[in-house]
Amino acid sequence: MVPTVGDSLGSGVTLTRYLLRRLLGLVPTLWAIATLTFGALYLVPGDPALVLLSESHATAAEIARRRAELGLDASLPEQYGRYLARIVQGDLGTSLFTGRPVTAEIRQQLPATLQLAVAASAVAVTLGLAMGLLAAVNRGHWPDAVITAAATVGIATPVFWSGLLAMWLFALVLGWLPATGQGGLEYLVLPAGVLGISSAGAIARVCRASLIEVMDRPYILAARARGIWPRSLLMRHALRVALLPTVTVIGVQFGFLMGGAVVTETVFARQGLGRLVVEAILRKDLPLVLGTVLVGATGYVLINLCTDILYGVLDPRVRDGGR
């Protein structure tokens, strides 16, 4: 995926240059995201001024006046230009509905979403790797069949359904955990578990497939023939190689988890970026949607950059090449 990293990892200067190049490469990506989001939002019918006053007794004339006050009567290119000029200065604007800066709104909701995404990732990675490992080691036997089936069920089950089931079982029937809300660690167990499990399936599959592929390689077979004990063989030789594709999947899955957080936050009545952006879309709060999407996209792009770098670090060919 990034062969250049492999060649250059030994030298600090080239790594810095590589990182700079990658970070600069983010600029057109983010511009594209900003523009696409802007376009999509403005293509969808709806007048924020009308939504804003939909619970008032405003007359048609008063609604038109509010629209002008919000600067929404300007032409599309003009609004786009103003928007770009603003984000270049690092100003995400002011929410049409709350009247507060978009950055303040995001700062308020981001920690809860990060907490959920990180916890869910931990569940997904731990569970996914464990399941993949177990399945690969027991290839063709019952644990493999059970795990493969479970992974498929995990991938196929939508969070809004498994979330309700988990809530019913652990909060209503057993009474072990709070059903909804946030607070201490006990509030995180159900949402992070449900979200993590849904993502663990994908990780388990990739981990299993790549482990099996590695274990069939001649050098592993040769090692086994020389009588090396399976566990150390697995840990020392096979697992590291098999982790490579898995790391890529984990990076992608983090994006999936951020997306899943939208649903999970709603089901478990947690605060967070997901609910913020959904609400903003439903109200057509243009600056808030644009700002949140931009921040989310930046996060996702950065995570994938990190995975790419990690990939280079983990690749044994890279390490050997560096010496």
Binding site: E55, A58, A60, P230, L282
Partner: protein, 529 residues
């Protein structure tokens, strides 16, 4: 093989450990009352924001100049002890209560009233609702410390009703000035029975009792022991989780329980169901009187008579909601009913109306047509308030008498836009409120929400007259005349009177709601011994 045993045991161990860990987190007894809200308002400053949800907690934070007594429907003193309205209806003089202090210790007086109303009027405040509730209020005079005079360019009959609502609640000028318009919502200070302790958007809002409070009307006076000292509001947007939160003991009061969960709540010994009828408009389908084919009265009438509304309401909303009878719900002032007789469920009558208008189905394909045009209805609806369920049944009924229905489930902004542009033949909506003047913006030609696209000089004149009249009886007559016209013209198909199904823990006693129906009177709430 050895390794297989080892790994299987590890797997089992992991399962056991995780289950044990989970089991250790036992449920703690709640220290305060948890009240479930159903949507996250974009903001909660009542002077600025419009959500009815914000009033659920904040009705208890603010006092208003007057209150609408939920038992008698009469305006009673609040922060104003008495008031007079000039003969021409343009000057309101309020005498204010002495000894009232805001939660921050500052004094409530006439200057505070002036400050609050001027804040609402100021375009920079960006009010989404309050600004449109005060008619043509142009000046606030303060002849002395305890007298306020409101001067209007034109009489505005709903003013007292507006002044009784939380959107015109009296906030501490000190606090508003300290925090500014954007951040005041997190630090709101009123004179009501509860103070706002904390607000974390999307997570919770906490109220604590204001122990000095002793100036409210009788229905806000706390009596007896075991009063609730703290109320924590949490947000339960997903209807499916509301009953779960209540049943698991996480929440003690929950609004808008879905009808399919209501019977189960009602059947439990630890919970009670408290249905509260909401004044205002019912859930109703506005019928566009300018877009073909609903520009024809016969077609509009056929739409109404083709639908078994009682069956729709029973199926979708259960037995708790009355079938709507007219453009206002039965518990609203000036409500006029009897339209069940005007438009009984008669598919045969609907078919005959269409036949007479020339909409026939000679080719027998089930769809009527005239002059080569099919009888096509463009039906927009939104995803909330059980609208999709209602839409499905209504559509089937229309198809049965020969309509072709093109329905679209759209997001709220798109629905509002379509309705404004008149892209619809039919679109649902409802708005709650105590004063029938809410009908103005829906049925006058310049109304912001004139979705029937009606332009009837009589309706315009009646609404205008009702809005400036100082005689209650006259206003009621005018609004009833308007309702009669609206229904004769079949501008709307009323579906269901809104009833808020609240689930309440039986640990709580004395839960009541104000005249608006949405807002709990938390002051009288207590914990059962």
């Amino acid at each position: 093989m050895k390794h297989r045993n080892w790994s299987s045991w590890l797997f089992l161990l992991a399962v056991v450990i995780s289950v044990t860990l989970v089991g250790c987190q036992s449920k703690a007894q709640p220290a305060s009352l948890v009240y479930g809200l159903t949507l996250i308002p974009s903001g909660i400053d009542p002077h600025i924001h419009a959500s009815s949800e914000l009033g659920i907690p904040l009705r208890s934070v603010y006092d208003t100049l007057v209150y609408l007594d939920p038992d008698t429907g009469v305006f009673v003193p609040g922060l104003a002890t008495e008031w007079t309205v000039s003969e021409d209806g343009r000057r309101y003089t309020f005498k204010l209560r002495t000894g009232v202090r805001f939660h921050d210790g500052s004094r409530f007086d006439a200057q505070a009233v002036k400050f609050n109303l001027e804040r609402v009027l100021n375009p920079e405040t960006g009010s989404q609702k309050a600004r449109y509730m005060v008619g043509s209020l142009r000046q606030i005079e303060v002849p002395d410390e305890l007298t306020v005079v409101l001067d209007l360019a034109e009489p505005y009959a709903p003013l007292l009703d507006s002044l009784s609502q939380v959107y015109l609640g009296m906030a501490s000028p000190t606090a508003v000035q300290k925090w500014g318009n954007a951040d005041y919502q997190f630090h709101q200070v009123g004179t009501g029975p509860y103070r706002l302790a904390e607000y974390v958007p999307g997570d919770h809002l906490t109220l604590t009792r204001y122990t000095d409070y002793d100036w409210g009307p009788s229905f806000l006076r706390a009596e007896g022991r075991n009063q609730v000292g703290e109320v924590v509001f949490r947000f339960y947007q997903d209807p499916a989780t509301r009953a779960v939160a209540l049943e698991s003991g996480q929440a003690h009061v929950m609004g808008e329980i879905p009808p399919q969960d209501a019977a189960r709540i009602e059947g439990r010994s630890d919970l009670a169901l408290l249905p509260v009828p909401i004044p205002g408009q019912p859930l109703q389908l506005f019928i566009n009187s300018t877009r073909p084919p609903t520009d024809e009265l016969a077609v509009r009438r056929a739409l109404i008579q083709a639908v078994d509304r009682a069956a729709v309401v029973q199926t979708v909303f259960g037995s708790w909601s009355p079938v709507a009878d007219g453009p206002l719900t039965a518990v609203t002032m000036a409500h006029l009913g009897g339209f069940g007789d005007m438009y009984p469920y008669r598919p045969s009558v609907a078919a005959a109306l269409l036949d007479q208008a020339g909409w026939v189905d000679p080719d027998g394909d089930g769809v009527r047509a005239r002059d080569g045009r099919t009888l096509n209805i463009s039906f927009y609806y939104m995803s909330w308030g059980m609208m999709p369920e209602v839409a499905q049944m209504v559509e089937n009924a229309w198809r049965a008498v020969g309509f072709q229905v093109e329905s679209q489930l759209v997001a709220y902004p798109a629905a509002l836009e379509a309705a404004r542009n008149g892209d619809h033949n039919v679109i649902p909506f409802n708005l709650s409120g105590t004063d029938p003047s809410m009908l103005d913006s829906f049925y006058t030609s310049g109304g912001g929400f004139n979705w029937s696209k009606v332009s009837d000089p009589d309706l315009d004149a009646w609404f205008q007259a009702a809005s400036v009249s100082t005689q209650l009886a006259e206003r009621i007559t005018l609004y009833q005349r308007a309702q009669q016209r609206i229904m004769e013209q079949a501008l709307v198909m009323p579906v269901r009177d809104y009833v808020n199904l609240n689930g309440v823990s039986r640990q709580m006693a004395g839960l009541r709601y104000d005249a608006q129906g949405w807002f709990p009177l938390l002051a009288t709430l207590s914990v059962q011994e």
